[in-house]
């Protein structure tokens, strides 16, 4: 009976998904084992040793992942910071108008393909959902374009009806402008929009990232806004060279702006992803270390208990013989 309970306990230690519970149950079984025989104590020792081994292996993996993320981050960070110069002229010229009210909205949610990187994917999904609520209304249409596997998995649950496109595997090769612009081209050809709202995590430092929304207007929306005045009203102050009309220029600008903003957004997001993965893996290796310490304590205590019991048995046996 005690054996069966112990075996059950042992299995729970091995398979428990929650490390905190596992450790607690390990300690619980430690208390129990004070009342059980030497044989089952040997089994318990074995179980704890196995658990220690697996925790050690997990710690090795998380440490390796942290190192990989750190070394990738260094290269991507430089490129991200350089790529910021590519959208700044557009914002200077066209301004950023997140509050613009148009009929057809397309939310471009940028997430990662891989997990184990903390909360960056759920943050951008949350922001996208909030944007969806803000932009939807009567006679309005809002659609999602999702980059990355993780965002799809989260959005497919409750808003799969409004997903228009899903793009994955963009991080097979190192990100480059050509790739992102072909992707942007694909998005432009496949959805109709008055405003594109790109949601991504802007990289600030290794431990912090800011969920950000960049708005790209369609040429028609730009023209409408520029007639209404404001920042865009200054567009007429510019002289247009060559034989192109203003609407042609605006269309070219809008397309190019979208691809540039996308390029920066994708880089920023992958940079944030790597930073988040680094800190997540750092804390999980630290947790694995803590867990290992506690398990080692349990292991040693149990071993010591069995040694003490054996000694008592030997001594009392000897004293029974002599006495």
């Amino acid at each position: 009976m005690a054996m069966a309970a112990l075996r059950k306990e042992g299995r729970r230690i091995l398979l428990s998904p929650n490390p905190a519970i596992a450790v607690r149950s390990a300690i619980l079984s430690d208390i129990k084992c004070k009342y059980i025989t030497g044989f089952s104590r040997a089994i318990l020792l074995h179980v704890v040793r196995n658990r220690m081994k697996s925790v050690k292996n997990i710690q090795k993996i998380t440490k390796a992942m942290k190192m990989v993320a750190a070394s990738k981050l260094r290269a991507v960070q430089v490129r991200t910071e350089n790529s910021r110069g590519i959208w700044q002229p557009f914002t200077a010229l066209l301004g950023d108008t997140p509050s613009v009210d148009v009929k057809k909205n397309v939310i471009v949610t940028i997430t990662s393909d891989k997990g184990l990187c903390g909360g960056i994917n759920s943050t951008s999904v949350k922001v996208s959902k909030a944007l969806y609520k803000l932009t939807s209304g009567s006679e309005k249409e809002t659609q999602y374009v999702i980059l990355g596997e993780k965002g799809k998995a989260q959005l497919v649950r409750d808003s799969k009806k409004s997903i228009a496109l899903n793009i994955t595997e963009i991080q097979k090769n190192p990100l480059n402008y050509t790739q992102v612009s072909v992707l942007a081209d694909d998005i432009l050809k496949n959805v109709e929009f008055d405003a594109l709202r790109i949601v991504y995590n802007k990289f600030e430092s290794v431990v912090s990232f800011i969920p950000t929304v960049a708005t790209v207007l369609s040429p028609e929306a730009v023209e409408k806004e520029s007639e209404a005045g404001g920042k865009l009203g200054e567009l007429d102050l510019y002289e247009i060279e060559g034989g192109d009309t203003k609407s042609e220029i605006l269309q070219n600008l809008a397309e190019f702006q979208f691809s540039c903003v996308m390029f920066n957004a994708v880089l920023e997001n992958s940079c944030s992803e790597l930073g988040a993965r680094m800190s997540a893996m750092d804390s999980s290796s630290r947790n694995a270390g803590d867990m290992l310490d506690r398990l080692t304590l349990t292991y040693n205590r149990t071993r010591q208990a069995s040694i003490t019991t054996e000694l008592i048995e030997i001594i009392s046996g000897a004293s029974a013989l002599t006495g």
Partner: protein, 81 residues
């Protein structure tokens, strides 16, 4: 041809169904192909395109298609002479 194209290029590529992005990518790719050797391979590595797209209709994804290259069909040899 080249001089005529530069003066009225915009209508031509727009009429061919290209966006400004495709147009500028073709131009960029042409410039890259004009580089000399040590820089050329370096620049060509920045031209790699790989991602997969799946369209969604009525809440269901369609079969994803993978895109490996720039989407224009004209090969580079048509331009370089």
């Amino acid at each position: 041809m080249a001089s005529a194209a530069s003066s009225a290029a915009a209508p031509f590529w727009r009429a061919a169904g290209m966006t400004y992005i495709t147009y500028s990518n073709i131009c960029a790719s042409l410039v890259r192909s004009c580089l000399k050797e040590p820089h050329k391979t370096d620049a060509l590595s920045r031209e790699k395109v790989h991602f997969s797209v799946s369209k969604w209709a009525g809440g269901k994804p369609e079969k994803p298609s993978t895109i490996f290259s720039l989407s224009f069909s004209l090969s580079r040899d048509d331009f370089c002479c």
